[in-house]
Each structure stands twice: as C-alpha cells, then as structure tokens.
Symmetry: C2
Subunit: 248 residues, 2 copies
Amino acid sequence: TIVALMTTRNESTATSASLSGRVVTITAGPTREPLDPVRYLSNHSSGKMGFALAAAAARHGAEVHLISGPVTLPTPVGVTRHDITTAQEMSDTARQLAKESDVFIGCAAVADYRAANVATHKIKKQANRDGMTLSLVKNPDIIADVGGMTEHRPFVVGFAAETRNLEHHARDKLERKGLDMIVANDVSLEGLGFGADQNAALILWRPDATTPLQRRELPARDKAALAETIIGLIIERLMTSNDSKQTP
Amino acid sequence: TIVALMTTRNESTATSASLSGRVVTITAGPTREPLDPVRYLSNHSSGKMGFALAAAAARHGAEVHLISGPVTLPTPVGVTRHDITTAQEMSDTARQLAKESDVFIGCAAVADYRAANVATHKIKKQANRDGMTLSLVKNPDIIADVGGMTEHRPFVVGFAAETRNLEHHARDKLERKGLDMIVANDVSLEGLGFGADQNAALILWRPDATTPLQRRELPARDKAALAETIIGLIIERLMTSNDSKQTP
C-alpha cells in the first residue's frame, strides 16, 4: 500500500520534461466588450479551465504564455501571464505569440460580437423610449486565425462550450476552423462547465489527414485532472508527429 | 494624545443606536441581464459602496437589508443579504422590502435595459453575417418606483454615477425620480468610483418642499468613510423630519 500511495501521489503532482523546450500559448477566461465607460457585454467563463491547462503545461516543462481576460484567479507557478480585456486585445496578443508557439490552446470564451460604436460617455436612458437596439459587429475569430496559419503554425486545440448537439457542433467547429483537436463540453449540465470546479468533456482529434476523427469521452472530473489528461493527449500528438517527420 | 487617539478610534469604529428600530434597505452591485445561457450585459459596479453603507447603517443599530447583484464581497456583520442577478429580480425584492423600510438607498448600478428575448440555447454566430442587432427593452426603474410610492414611503436616497455634467444630471435625477437625497460621483476620475476603494461625492438634498436644494461636496475618501458621512446625513434628515412631525 505504501508503493500504491506513492504512485498515486507521484501521478497527481507529476512533473515531467515532456514539454521541455516547447512554447505553449493558452487563452483563458471571458472577454469584456465595452458599450460605454460603465457598461459591457461579457459571459460566464471563470478562466478555471484555461488556468488549469497552463499549470499542467508548466508542470510538464513548457514555456507557458497565458492570455487572460478579467478573472479573479492567481497566476500558476512558472507561467507568463498577459492580461487583456477585449477580444481585439486578445487577438493582437495571440497573433504575436502563436507564431512562436508549438501549441496554441484557445480556451477563452471570446465574445463573438462587440458594439459597433463604443460611447465615450455614459449612454443616458431615453425617458420616451421603451426599447433600444444595440448594433454589434463581429470580433476577430482568434482560433480560426491560428488554425489557418500557413507559416510557423502551432498544434491548435480549440474548445466548444455548447448547450445542445455537442458532438455535431464540435466536429463542425474542428473542420471549419482548421483545428487539430477540440475539447467539447455541455455547459447546460448542473455543476459542470462555466464557474464550476468540474468538467466533463468529449475530445476529438485527427491523427493525420487520411484517418477518421478519433474520439475520447471523459466523465466529470476536477478541471485540474481534465487539464492533465488534455495536456497528456497533446504530448502524445506532438510525439507522434515528430516521429512521422523523422521517419518519412 | 491618549485622549485624542481614543477619540479617533471611537469615531472610526463608532457604534450608535441612532438607527435603532429603523429598517434600512440598500441595493448594491451590478445587475446581470442574460442574452442566452452563457452571455450577459452588465457593468463595472463592484458593490463596495453599497456594502460600506450597509455596514455603516448596521453599526448605527438599523435592521439592514442588502439586495446585492453578483459581487465577490463578504456580507457585513449584522446585515441580511438578498442575492439577485437581474434588474427584474432586484425590483421584485426591493418593492417588497421598501414598504417596510424607513430608509431606502439605491446604490446598485441597475442595468437600464435587458434583452427583449433571452435565448434558451447559446446563440450561434452566423458565418455569413458581419454584424447583428440586439433588441433591448427597458428594465423597471427601481429608485423612481420607490420615490413615487404614496403609502409607507421610506426616505429615498439615490446615486448618480456620471462621466460629465455631474451636478446637472444629479439635480435632474433627484427631481425626476422623486428622491429625498442624491449622492453623485464622477466615475471617469482615475482611482475613484467603480471598483476603486475611494470615492468623491456631491450630495444634494431638500430640507423641505419650500427650501432650495442643499449641497455638500466631499473630497476623495475611503468608501467606508464616505458611507459613514452619508448615513450621518440621513440620520440628521430622519431626526429633523421627526421633529417637524412632532411640532407642527
């Protein structure tokens, strides 16, 4: 039992050098899109999953860059943090870092749209108007931009937070955005996903251009444990692709 | 100097019974208006000012109800907290409590508008559309509803967070919403207002129907100190109005 205990401890706090010399960039948390100096559009992402991935990648020896929206989480040990507010700021930082990264993980819940015009002063409520319309324009699609890179393209992992048709949306997003792997989770399930400490996930990836998609379904577990599994799968993919490059 | 020190300490942690037997209801923090299960409209209110007011009112012996939007602050000692998310929920709770309150302080940054339709499932981005319009409808005007009460009307204190024309907007809001007192602050000033620990304020109130508005300008200070000053002014108003009732 002593050996068993030691093995367990060894696995849970595992440090390895399997990502030594690799640069991993991760986006995390929500973005906030201002409407005026006091109001904004945002979403319920807590950043926990992205921060757990950053911690796991750092434990495996990677140089980790974490691009984070406004969250209230401490920076994991050994991780370089880049704080941003809007999707445009996240995109600018991500484009810079992606070129120098071996792995890019888009875990942030990036706002799809921002206000067409951001008011300089607080918008006053109009007493005579019962409603108003807000004009929104599309934000940059960060993960699709990285997925579509033609030079120095990293291994690209996306996330899909869905409330229905999980696998359908995940397959569609992986193809459409040119991803190498996607982690999909159902955010409508009680106690999982946004803000929660646990997550269940369906992971899809394509071993090579001619092989059909592989899938792995992971039941609910701590975000730290899920992060460890995801980083493990990414390491496997990196090693396989290195092998195939070395033995043509 | 020992006496001076003791006086200082006595003032800063002052407990008095001047609000004993009085019910004070305070709204605090932002509201969040959902667009779909993951997205929402909100604002930068941290809740600090409202929580400081609740703590000050409790120290003066009041029965305090604090209606709070989503914030990350601990409940002050001796305060009953009512957690809400949307403006409609805040309005429902406020209408109930206002009838039984002697003082109502609207310190929350209530969203003026909410989505006309809240989507049950996550809204998918339309690949073929560069923009979208969001239809918003007006939320209940909580402070105006309480200000307009004709029976069991409490003493009503509003807040005005502005980025320009501070006094003009404050006077207008006090008149239009039927308030007894208004605390106005300029949220465009660096290090003051939303999220900050300090606040400067302009306080306006009308001693009685025939007297012109009184004004008091308070330079930047801790939100706790500002709260103490505001509660002190409210106690003065309550005592004066009691006196005038007793001596017609």
